[in-house]
């Protein structure tokens, strides 16, 4: 299913780590996150929101608080997807999203140099 989606929509792999991948579709102007057994579609805004939600999770308190479960629900208002993740998975998702946005920045710099600057 995922493989088919990647092929049909000519998805570009933006960033991957050991736990998952983020793809971009230039055809549909959207992104796909392959993580936690889910292959989920996002647009620009929802991807930014997800990143913020994940970055705002206090992982230290999650690990130290003995009265709480070690799992956290990762989602936000209006998000189509819900992730139930433990602390390590949250760290992995955070790494995946931060890596993705770093690649966006890099791609932006390259696009500026190659296509937008006229000398």
């Amino acid at each position: 299913m995922e493989k088919a989606c990647i092929d049909i929509n000519e998805l570009v792999n933006v960033f991957s780590n050991n736990y998952g991948s983020v793809y971009q579709s230039d055809k549909l102007n959207c992104f796909y996150i392959d993580f936690g057994g889910k292959f989920a579609r996002y647009n620009c805004l929802s991807l930014q929101k997800l990143k913020k939600v994940v970055e705002d999770i206090d992982i230290e308190s999650l690990l130290l608080n003995t009265k709480k479960a070690d799992f956290e629900l990762v989602t936000y208002n209006g998000c189509d997807h819900i992730y139930l993740l433990n602390a390590l998975e949250i760290i992995a998702l955070k790494d995946l999203l931060q890596g993705t946005f770093t690649m966006f920045k890099l791609n932006h710099l390259i696009s500026d140099c190659l296509y937008r600057l006229v000398f």
Binding site: V14, N29, F31, C44, F104, H108
Partner: protein
């Protein structure tokens, strides 16, 4: 690969975050001035109450100006939560000391955003910020002049009554 984030929005994530923080600061200033207006009114300083009410409205306008810019550039403008507004002041003078302190903090905040704009070469946002940087001249001037009235007139006798009457007359002209 398309530069999708840039296509969606002119602002970088960092600048967008800073502008949203500024929206929150302006909202905070607006609420603080309103709180000062309330205190002044209850303590019989009617002219100062009017002055701070007007200032509060101005801060609200600043907030909306930033809000509109973020949205116009394709960003996500966030309506801020404002908490922890000071409601008790030790005296008439402290109100004005706090007002100047708040304006200095706002000026500093705009300088930080401007520095970031220079670093990123975001001259579009820089040009937008110029209006605010200029505005801070006036805001700080007015707050400083008001506080100086306490030195010039003095608080003894009918001093505070006199100061209150003068606060509303402070104006700034560039020339």
């Amino acid at each position: 690969m398309k530069d999708l984030m840039r296509i969606k929005c002119l602002l970088s994530q960092d600048i967008e975050t800073l502008l949203n923080q500024q929206i929150k600061k302006e909202a905070h200033s607006s609420s603080l001035y309103l709180s000062m207006a309330s205190w002044c009114n209850q303590n019989g300083y009617d002219f100062s109450a009017d002055y701070f009410t007007k200032q509060s409205e101005e801060e609200r306008m600043h907030q909306l100006k930033l809000f509109k810019y973020v949205l116009d550039m394709g960003g996500n403008a966030v309506s801020p939560e404002v908490t922890g507004i000071k409601t008790e002041f030790l005296g008439f003078r402290e109100v004005f000391e706090d007002a100047l302190e708040a304006e200095i903090a706002i000026t500093q905040s705009f300088k930080n955003i401007a520095a970031k704009c220079h670093k990123e070469q975001d001259f579009v946002t820089m040009e937008f910020l110029n209006w605010f940087l200029k505005e801070q001249r006036e805001e700080e001037y007015k707050a400083r002049r008001a506080l100086e009235l306490f030195e010039v007139i003095g608080e003894e006798g009918t001093g505070r009554w006199e100061i209150d009457k003068h606060v509303n007359k402070i104006t700034y002209s560039e020339d």
